[in-house]
Symmetry: C3
Subunit: 408 residues, 3 copies
């Protein structure tokens, strides 16, 4: 099938990528240095910090490029595009996130310099993850140039939101970055909704899946599922007093995911008319436990609380995926290709509620009210920013069909 | 092809999974806490322990979910079931293993509390591995509900066996857990044998393999093969005096596997009528070196001994896989889908012999006799328990065909 | 299609492998021990050394067996052979590299004993990597026995070259081993060239790729791409004073790869007549940034320099892959199946130039001239050795078609 966009577009993507890459390179020349602190201070704890950070960074790295890349291969027609463009977008989003993070959220008092460290690279990868979540909603409905620009706008929006949360509300950096799922999902759905209003009909036959590509998607899912404990704990500091918290986060995420995969399979079979598991359904909802616990993690100290959060997240997410996707389409004319609303937004908000509830249960009443107000503000700001940015993004680019650009 | 079991069964699996998950959750509420020791003691060595344990835990985690899951995809008709149910079974087996391990084999003097730590999670994953080995023998001959219950019974049996070994014979925990391959394989073969007597004919056409799914199985095999050094060394303590042993185990497993993969390929080509490699054959036997060295590892101190064990294990395993599988079927009416007898049981027993021989060679005669008696008792108890539990398991559930439950 | 080589050949590979494995085993009996130093010295830093080395070793291990193995699956007809023989060759090459490295390049003053340590195993894996690069040029043109012998000759040649560089020129071990790409690629191309002159016509239809195996190749590429920072930094010492350098290498490789994947995609689309990405093209050139920075890494201290090297490497490599491969074939009658010349040799030589330039820019004139002479000698010796060894290798073995030996 011939691409429906003009041939000129074919040459636009490489030029845009080339141009952006050159701009990034020039910005790196003037502003970015490699963190040299470890060498100079030579403190004992620094080297341990490095050792454990690098392993966690690799886990997150695998999730971004292998996990998200192959998760999208379940769409037969976009198998290659899914994994290929995923690498392109993620590589550019990470470079941009290093820059924008360094400008807006400088880590220490560096005089107009951005220092690359394990922390800054992990943060950049998490920002890229939020852009990849947003991609999930518009897969198959945009051309690659739009996807690339959308990814960069999404990263910018997410970092600006974090800057607002940290500056205005003095929010915890780890907590604010864990809202990446909510931000990304709402952003993506908003883009998809506005695109839809401009007359693009979802073509259902393009969503068809198949057994072989299904196994590739299983691969992506498993990589995300297995390394999620590292994803959640990567930014929980390695310093002595936070070590217990880091371990608690790891065990909590692990248990939450174990429960959510069981629940996702059960719900998928129960709600299917033939009693069969729908693989895409299971793959999507199995991850919801990790999303939910990620938002609530600093307040979770008991294994059973983590498991209950995973239980509820998978239940809501699996039911949402089954019943909400089509309702969304017909009621609001909003088409969400990978169902990011039920996979990322709903569990994220559930985790937010769990966080609120657990904090309220363990605080005195005056502090509790303060916390509740603060907590609600954080979510509202994140939601508003993502919806506004999502709408603003589309208004600039017209929507045409993204085609499979690969030769095979 | 329509499922041959009653439609009511279709809805049984989600309900059973849902029910079991709820029971696990309630047990976790009352009995399980997260280990907080690291934070309180704050000793220097603890943090290093954590860092290296988490990386090893991740390696084992990858082996269980990625390795075992995709190893089973070589059966074309069970590709999805293989990787899908593997995740379900492993996730439930791990939760159950944390509980049953905590009840029967408490790690320290905790008053009726189970504390989750890296060690307890790694042990739970190894117990799940033993259940997954048992699965290999009955793939394609049981329905999912049976598989799930069988996995939980297998884990219970394995933990009870360990409790007997540790309590009665004062066995080394690491050594007793490494018998997981022998226990799992004998358990699975026994279940398969009893099922067979109840009239289920193996359908040979269901064992057919294909090139594409073959590459997925190669994936699973490689993940198991690459991370096996972590699998064997994960529970060898990280404490100063055992560090040398841990490294020895890592190098030994690495060399043993390198030799066994070469031998598996050679034997596969030599014994084939056309001189071609049979991929499934190679994939199965390549791992035998890791199984054998796992049982013998604490007595192996020279690289060439490790390599010789890998050499013999691959030789026996590859010949066994080629010639024994069909003989088993016709002589004993026992059908072993993935050949777990030659992949896990034979190398495991070979490793046991190597362990015995190496210890006898380096001990005085009085101690040698003592050790031999003890060592033989350990194997006999493990074998008896696995055979008895395997038989008992089936008597409760009738055997019907496991169908491909996935929609695609 | 029936194999064109005599049936006797079918039984030759297992016998050759069996014989070689037995010889290796006997050599291990007499010469190789497991390093026990960590236990004896018990120094604090040793245990940290171990922890970080083992994680890096695993990353390199994954690259060799998963990355290189699946990278070659893009050739439909050699999918299985690619990943299967890759494991066989790599496993034997590693054992041989441990021996030959220990004989020629003893690490400390061990009296005629080779001690296995993390360092020796990582070095052996890097030597195997250089053999796997050479394989890339002759894929589909040799039979497995030839491939196996060629791999062992290549490893020997590479270790001898390193011995010359370290003994005669007193070269830095890390720098000399990083020339593995240049050595492997030139060796492989030379073998391919001599084979060609003996009358073997490349059969273009055997190079055809397909969508499904393409996703497997994407897998291999991504594993190489993701873990390359570990590949480059694995041998950069863990000692206090080099820690800063290790981090610099990690960040540099990471950034260089991020830029090179973007550039590889852009160039692939720009140079294609239809404006589509050629997947094999992208997969090959995306890795060039890692090759180039690997040779230059000890002289790179700024992120933008690393990025510029990645930028140029991908540009040259992608253009070379597109235009040079066919010119090579017609002008020099040299057929290079995986395009190793543009993927490994050109970026390697670019990295060498970058290294020279960066050192000259930061040195005084007298030292600069000395360094330039030394630096040019290193490259010339490496190139000469690889070309001579490559030619010598083929003269002994006649070239016949390598067939797909797998039963499926």
């Amino acid at each position: 099938m011939a691409p429906q966009y003009a041939p000129s577009l074919r040459s636009r993507l490489p030029l845009v990528a080339f141009l952006l890459e050159t701009i990034f390179l020039i910005l790196f020349v003037f502003f970015v240095k490699i963190e040299q602190q470890h060498e100079q201070s030579g403190r004992e704890s620094d080297s341990k910090l490095f050792i454990s950070s690098y392993a966690e960074f690799q886990d997150v790295h695998v999730m971004i490029f292998m996990g998200f890349g192959f998760l999208a291969t379940f769409l037969v027609r976009y198998g290659f595009s899914g994994s290929g463009f995923n690498v392109l977008l993620a590589a550019m989003a990470i470079q941009w996130a290093v820059l924008i993070n360094g400008f807006l959220l400088p880590q220490r008092h560096h005089r107009r310099e951005i220092h690359i460290s394990m922390k800054s690279v992990i943060e950049a990868e998490l920002c890229a993850a939020s852009a990849l979540v947003a991609m999930g909603a518009v897969h198959g409905k945009t051309n690659p140039v739009q996807l690339l620009l959308m990814a960069l706008v999404e990263v910018t929006g997410f970092v600006v939101t974090q800057w607002i949360l940290r500056t205005l509300l003095n929010a915890d950096p780890v907590y604010s970055i864990m809202l990446l799922h909510v931000f990304g999902a709402l952003f993506g759905v908003m883009v998809s909704w506005v695109l839809h209003r401009e007359g693009i009909k979802p073509e259902h036959e393009k969503e068809k899946t198949d057994r072989r590509t299904g196994l590739f998607a299983m691969f992506g899912t498993l990589f995300l599922w297995m390394f999620w404990p590292s994803f959640n704990s990567a930014l929980v500091g390695d310093y002595r007093r936070e070590r217990g918290l880091k371990l608690t986060v790891i065990y909590g995420t692990y248990l939450s995911l174990a429960v959510s995969v069981v629940m996702a399979m059960s719900v998928s079979m129960l709600t299917s008319s033939k009693g069969k598991m729908n693989m895409v359904h299971v793959q999507s909802s199995a991850l919801s436990g990790g999303v939910a616990i990620g938002v609530a993690m600093t307040a979770v100290h008991q294994p059973w609380i983590a498991m209950t959060i995973g239980f509820c997240a998978a239940l809501l997410s699996a039911l949402g995926y089954r019943y909400m996707k089509n309702h969304m389409l017909f009621a609001f004319e909003c088409h969400d290709t990978c169902g990011v609303l039920s996979v990322h937004a709903i569990p994220g908000i559930l985790g937010w509620f769990a966080h609120l509830f657990l904090r309220l249960a363990s605080s005195e009443s005056t502090i509790a009210v303060q916390f509740a107000v603060y907590h609600i503000c954080v979510l509202l700001i994140t939601a508003c920013m993502s919806l506004v940015m999502g709408t603003a993004t589309v208004s600039k680019f017209g929507g045409t069909q993204m085609k499979n650009l690969w030769t095979h």
